[in-house]
């Protein structure tokens, strides 16, 4: 047996092996709830009389205030209050307002390779970039997992992606994610575990891997896993985690036939047009489209490296479109401050928000107006997602977003980067 997902699932269910399609109960290492899905989970626990089953010796529970951060009205402030009180009483790890987006925070040294993680948020599969089995669930299931320390899973069929070559300048993990969504479509990976192999992976850094794993849910994937290697080990060390020897076993046989092959050197800047993340086009096909608002942030592209990409294009220049930038965590924000990136962005005309989801979720802090055109580094562009249904959201990399902010139009970022090659931040 090879699939990392099946191996991790077997280990957590006490079986020697599990087959795709099999339904198993498995022990979970971590459960995450946020300020949208969490209150409903707490109601389920209270209604079922199961609150006192929640305890940190059974399972580590992370409670993250990221979607309404800071709260935008009385209801969300009260939901936060309830989550805070519950966390204190039952020993959950609380990530309060302004800490950042769950999927960045848990990737900053909390999730470990080989873990089985469930989160009441569909983008939980982001942590697969750290060789873990991580998947999204609903609120009732989060409640169940918090109380029981286990949950039922249908073992997924693996879908292997082989990666070769390396990115050209101006092309990133976001373009790889969009390319895969174009190939797979909205149900192309339904219920599957997308697993990456190939010697091109050594050129794909952790921020890019987190972006790719994050967006595989847009093709219906249950989980998306990168095999353990030096790139992961370096990221973990940077976040204060000492590697364990057994993580080295979390690799895939490189000789296996893949379902999809990608040569990174053939990728170009891509963009998803509304109304779906799988409607992927070349940036050059849409060049010239006028843009009102640019958003850089979210669990997809709110990391420090994304901010550097943005600053590389904007250094010493002024934006034409409105630009909202939200770091994915307070750690990212601190690094932006210490490395001068924040100042570069402020000089260019960016508006900086509190670490968290920002307008990605469409409820507050920077949503678009009627018929406005948005270029955004987030993962979804369904109608009504980031403004009224008439607003048009295009999904792109931080480079492409930067180019749109600078020119006020959809623009290929590569020539701009070439002009700016001498820039040091």
């Amino acid at each position: 047996m090879d699939s990392l997902a099946l191996r991790i699932l077997a280990k957590h269910s006490g079986a020697s092996a599990v087959e795709p399609g099999e339904i198993v109960y498995a022990r979970v290492d971590k459960v995450m709830i946020n300020d949208v899905t969490g209150p409903m989970a707490l109601s389920v626990l209270a209604d079922a009389g199961a609150e006192d089953l929640v305890n940190p010796d059974k399972v580590e529970v992370h409670v993250v205030m990221d979607h309404y951060s800071p709260p935008h009205n009385w209801d969300s402030a009260n939901a936060h209050r309830r989550l805070r009180d519950f966390s204190r009483k039952y020993g959950c790890v609380l990530h309060d307002v302004g800490s950042g987006v769950a999927h960045q925070l848990l990737a900053e040294g909390i999730v470990k390779p080989g873990d089985l993680v469930v989160g009441a948020d569909s983008h939980t599969l982001t942590y697969g970039a750290l060789s873990s089995f991580a998947t999204g669930i609903g609120s009732s299931e989060a409640a169940y997992a918090m109380a029981a320390g286990e949950l039922w899973f249908k073992a997924p069929e693996p879908l292997y992606v082989e990666v070769r070559g390396r990115f050209h300048t101006g092309v990133t993990g976001k373009d790889l994610a969009l390319h895969l969504l174009k190939v797979l479509g909205p149900v192309g990976a339904l219920y599957r575990s997308v697993e990456f192999v190939g010697n091109g992976l050594r050129h794909v850094n952790m921020p890019d891997r987190l972006t790719v794993a994050n967006m595989m849910v847009e093709a219906g994937a249950k989980t998306a896993i990168f095999p353990y290697d030096d790139v992961i080990e370096y990221w973990l060390r940077m976040h204060g985690v000492l590697p364990e020897r057994m993580w080295r076993e979390l690799t895939l046989d490189p000789g296996r036939p893949a379902d999809i092959e990608v040569d990174l050197s053939e990728l170009e800047p891509l963009i998803a047009e509304p109304p779906m993340p799988t409607r992927v086009r070349h940036v050059t096909d849409l060049e010239g489209t006028e843009v009102d608002l640019v958003f850089v942030g979210s669990c997809t592209n709110g990391r420090y490296e994304d901010m550097v990409a943005l600053a590389r294009v904007l250094k010493g220049r002024k934006v034409r479109a409105r630009l909202i930038v939200i770091p994915a965590s307070v750690r990212v924000l601190k690094q932006m401050v210490s490395e001068g990136v924040l100042n570069t962005l402020l000089e260019a005309g960016a508006v900086i928000g509190v670490p968290g989801c920002g307008p990605c979720f469409g409820a507050h802090m920077g949503v678009a107006g009627n018929s406005e055109v948005v270029v955004s580094t987030v993962n979804r562009n369904f109608p009504g997602r980031a403004g009224p249904p008439t607003a048009k959201v295009y999904l792109a990399s931080p480079y492409t977003a930067a180019a749109a902010a600078l020119t006020g139009r959809i623009t290929d970022p590569r020539p701009l980067l070439a002009e700016h090659e001498w820039v040091c931040l």
Partner: protein, 172 residues
């Protein structure tokens, strides 16, 4: 509850492919989770669907194509549909979190392709017998639901399973 989910009926509401959870219940309503509130705002950003939902007799059977429940993990989507009178969803395929949320809330979800069915036709879903019949005469075998999942549905949802777990725990 136990017997009733095994045979459900509803008047068809046809919705097409890739209906996402932002369309079912937009984010701007999620700071509250009362069923009445969510049911009132179901499909607010899809007036075409909402208008027909309002005029379809209740209970409603949503009949969808591929990828129903695309997107977010919000269980609010299932709560909203139930509150709006939806008794069953039949789709060619479902996105997995929506599927699990539906089962966990005791809302039957069935994989089948019902292309011939029209709006407002009466659809009968027999989970025990494994068939779907529509009033126009269209019948389908449904993909059998695994026993572990059927058990949750018959219990009335995962909350009920959790309630049992909690009471066993408190007894010991």
């Amino acid at each position: 509850m136990g017997v009733s989910v095994m045979r459900v009926r509803g008047y068809a509401l046809i919705v097409g492919n890739d209906v996402d959870t932002d369309t079912i219940i937009p984010a701007r309503y999620l700071h509250r989770s009362e069923p009445e509130w969510l049911g009132e705002h179901v499909f607010d950003d899809a007036p075409g669907i909402k208008g027909r939902l309002n005029t379809t007799p209740k209970p409603v059977a949503i009949v969808a194509g591929d990828g129903f429940g695309y997107g977010s993990s919000r269980e609010h989507a299932v709560v909203a549909l139930k509150a709006a009178g939806v008794a069953v969803v039949v789709a060619k395929s479902f996105h997995r979190i929506f599927y699990r949320n539906a089962i966990n809330n005791g809302l039957p979800v069935v994989e089948a392709d019902l292309v011939e069915v029209r709006d407002c036709e009466l659809v009968l879903v027999d989970l025990a017998g494994g068939t779907i019949t529509a009033s126009s005469g269209c019948t389908r075998r449904i993909k059998p639901i695994p026993p572990q999942i059927l058990e949750i549905l018959e219990c009335g949802g995962l909350k009920e399973v959790l309630r049992k777990l909690a009471s066993e725990h408190h007894r010991t």
